[in-house]
């Protein structure tokens, strides 16, 4: 399945296209395995974009987005016979000859900080216009506007919601000169652009979980030398302590309505799942086993919680009604199944699937209970679905390098998100358009 000949160094490509040599790329994305059946689309450089800064090259950002989705393959600029920017300039015959199914053209008119982007999407075979939009924006929002255009195109052509204008959170660990680790909770655009540290500590940070509105992050911090769960509002930086009871305070997961957190506490001895009401901070105990119960995650309808438990001897996934009740074992295949997370449509659960010492990302389709192993790593963990369920972001490791990777939900497209420095772990894809 892995075809090294087909490895496409989009990372290098995007580096050349998006960043001037002066700006050091914080993150590069490399498609390690593409999809044979990806739809060909030609994205012509927009007229007028040459006047914009390197990081705001609209057509290049759109090209990168669509290519990275795994659904499209884009045409290189050198292969284009012409570069039209107006509907009247298009010769569909030429684009058909190049085997292109769709064509995007556009132009940008700028007036100081204000920009107007006109763009048109065509079906090359029918010679038909599918979209024509004018987008008014300002200089600081150009990248975000480009992602919006990608979203519109993606939705039009695949019928699925585009999620290029979303964010991811993750933990970055670096080794300091003192020999101690430094832990940073960072938030970046889904393409890795503009990472922002929202909290940092010399003690571990773990398990970021997004609020359903994408405005808050719950996470675990050991900043006081013991585990505590905090809630931080991103646009104010305000941090509230939610739980710091004796023992484990871990694995926070927001309820779909945003009013509660499911967490792991070990105050009574063994780790159990609790529900914390964010208004009153009152706790309700959900599981009562003598074994390890941890890593709760809510079903999108709020009715169930999936969690990891070793009550059967080895860690496996179980579900329990969120209002309380009997836990049911969900996984039987493999000797280690942990960190289950529901897809946004509630039809499947992604997990860490361990078999004979290898830990991989797998997806269980709930209707059929079949498990599909998607990755081939040895130490893959922490899966997180994209908001449209097309991709799963996860943490991987190879030769001591911890990085984020993504795989399409069908396992066909693989990509690696390589940061300039540091060990990257615990990714969480924000559930909303940023």
């Amino acid at each position: 399945m892995m075809n090294t000949g087909k490895v496409l160094y989009l990372g290098i490509l995007s580096w050349l296209l998006l960043w001037s040599p002066m700006i050091k790329a914080e993150l590069t994305i490399e498609i390690t395995q593409g999809v044979e059946s990806a739809t060909p689309i030609a994205i012509v450089p927009f007229a007028g974009q040459e006047k914009l800064p390197e990081q705001a090259q609209i057509a290049a950002i759109i090209q990168n987005d669509l290519q990275r989705s795994g659904y499209f393959k884009t045409l290189s600029h050198e292969d284009m016979l012409s570069q039209p920017s107006q509907p009247g300039e298009i010769k569909f015959r030429n684009w058909r000859a190049l085997g292109q199914e769709y064509l995007l053209i556009g132009k940008i008119s700028s007036n100081g900080m204000n920009h107007v982007i006109m763009f048109y999407l065509y079906d090359v075979y029918k010679g038909e216009q599918l979209m024509a939009y004018r987008l008014r924006t300002t200089a600081p929002k150009l990248r975000s506007s480009a992602h919006r255009i990608s979203d519109l195109i993606f939705e039009k052509l695949t019928g699925k919601k585009g999620v290029f204008n979303t964010r991811i959170a993750y933990i970055k660990r670096t080794l300091q000169k003192s020999g101690k680790f430094r832990y940073r909770l960072q938030v970046a655009d889904a393409d890795g652009y503009k990472p922002i540290t929202v909290f940092a500590s010399d003690e571990p940070l773990m398990s970021p979980s997004w609020s359903p509105d994408g405005k808050q992050l719950a996470y675990v911090s050991f900043e006081k030398k013991y585990a505590a769960i905090y809630l931080q509002t991103l646009n104010t930086g305000k941090k509230t302590r939610i739980s710091a009871i004796r023992g484990i305070n871990g694995a926070p997961s927001f309820s779909p309505d945003g009013t509660k957190l499911a967490v792991t506490l070990s105050k009574d001895g063994s780790p159990d799942i609790y529900i914390i009401d964010l208004q009153s901070l009152s706790r309700t105990k959900l599981t009562r086993s003598f074994a390890i119960d941890t890593e709760p995650n809510w079903s999108p309808d709020g009715r169930h919680i999936v969690f990891t438990s070793d009550r059967g001897g080895r860690p496996q996934l179980y579900t329990i009604p969120s209002e309380g009740g009997r836990a049911k074992r969900l996984t039987f295949e493999g000797d280690y199944n942990a960190r289950g997370v529901y897809s946004q449509d509630g039809n499947s659960i992604a997990m860490v699937h361990g078999n004979r010492g290898d830990y991989r990302i797998a997806v269980m389709e709930l209707a059929s209970r079949t498990i599909n192993v998607l990755t081939a790593g040895r130490l893959d963990e922490a899966p997180s679905f994209s908001p449209n369920d097309t991709m799963i972001l996860y943490a991987a490791q190879k030769r001591g390098n911890a990085y984020l990777a993504a795989v399409s939900a069908d396992g066909k497209m693989h990509q690696k998100l390589q940061f300039a420095s540091g060990n990257i772990k615990d990714p969480a894809w924000a559930p909303t358009i940023k």
């Binding site: 024509a132 939009y133 004018r134 987008l135 008014r136 924006t137 929002k141 975000s144 506007s145 919006r148 080794l175 430094r182 832990y183 909770l185 938030v187 540290t197 929202v198 909290f199 940092a200 010399d202 571990p204 773990m206 398990s207 994408g214 405005k215 050991f222 900043e223 030398k225 013991y226 585990a227 991103l234 646009n235 930086g237 023992g247 484990i248 871990g250 694995a251 792991t264 780790p271 390890i292 941890t294 890593e295 990891t308 080895r314 280690y336 942990a338 960190r339 860490v352 361990g354 010492g357 830990y359 130490l379 963990e381 490791q397 030769r399 001591g400 772990k425 615990d426 358009i433 940023k434």
Partner: protein, 187 residues
């Protein structure tokens, strides 16, 4: 029905004006060849970055301050780390003497406190490893309490796979990371 539709239109236009007059306006999307529309797009959530200050300093006391017996490799008190097998919180035979010696020491100095920091290797899921690290630390704590150490003298914390003793990625490194550290604390 008709008046309701009208009312809705008035409402929407009011909303639109409200949006367009706010200072921090988002992108405006217009057009589509088929149906004319104008859409005010919401702005992204601004993120306030964290200003990193000087890191805080821990209060572990070095075993040098405790006495020479902690430096003597022949003395069981010199063992300050207990190692574990994969996915296990069972204390291995070879550490029983060391745990007993530390229990004895804590009993003779009731004002001394100890943090038992549990850790795991990097394999598997991070939060599950937190639970596993806690089980390991609790197994050591239980043995010490059985030997008369006051519960108030002991504090259990688990760091899971977050603070590896060594950053290697083979069985030798993993073995070094599956551990409980015995950390004497200042008064």
């Amino acid at each position: 029905m008709h008046s309701l539709t009208k009312l809705t239109i008035v409402f929407i236009s009011l909303l639109l004006t409200a949006c367009t007059t706010t200072e921090n306006t988002g992108d405006i999307l217009e057009g589509d060849s088929k149906n004319q529309q104008q859409q005010q797009l919401t702005d992204s959530t601004e993120i306030v970055p964290y200003h990193e200050d000087t890191p805080d300093i821990g209060n572990e006391i070095s075993t040098h301050q405790l006495g020479p017996e902690f430096q003597d490799p022949q003395n069981p008190l010199s063992t300050l780390t207990v190692y574990f097998a994969y996915d296990s919180s069972q204390v291995q035979q070879e550490y029983i003497a060391a745990i007993a010696a530390h229990a004895e020491y804590l009993r003779s100095y009731p004002s001394l406190r100890m943090v038992l920091a549990g850790h795991g290797d990097e394999r598997g899921s991070a939060e599950y490893n937190i639970a596993l690290g806690e089980q390991r630390a609790k197994a050591v704590a239980k043995m010490m309490k059985m030997q008369g150490v006051q519960a108030t003298q002991l504090e259990v914390v688990s760091y899971g796979e977050e603070k590896p003793a060594t950053t290697g990625h083979d069985e030798a490194a993993w073995q070094m990371n599956r551990r409980v550290e015995l950390l004497y604390q200042g008064q």
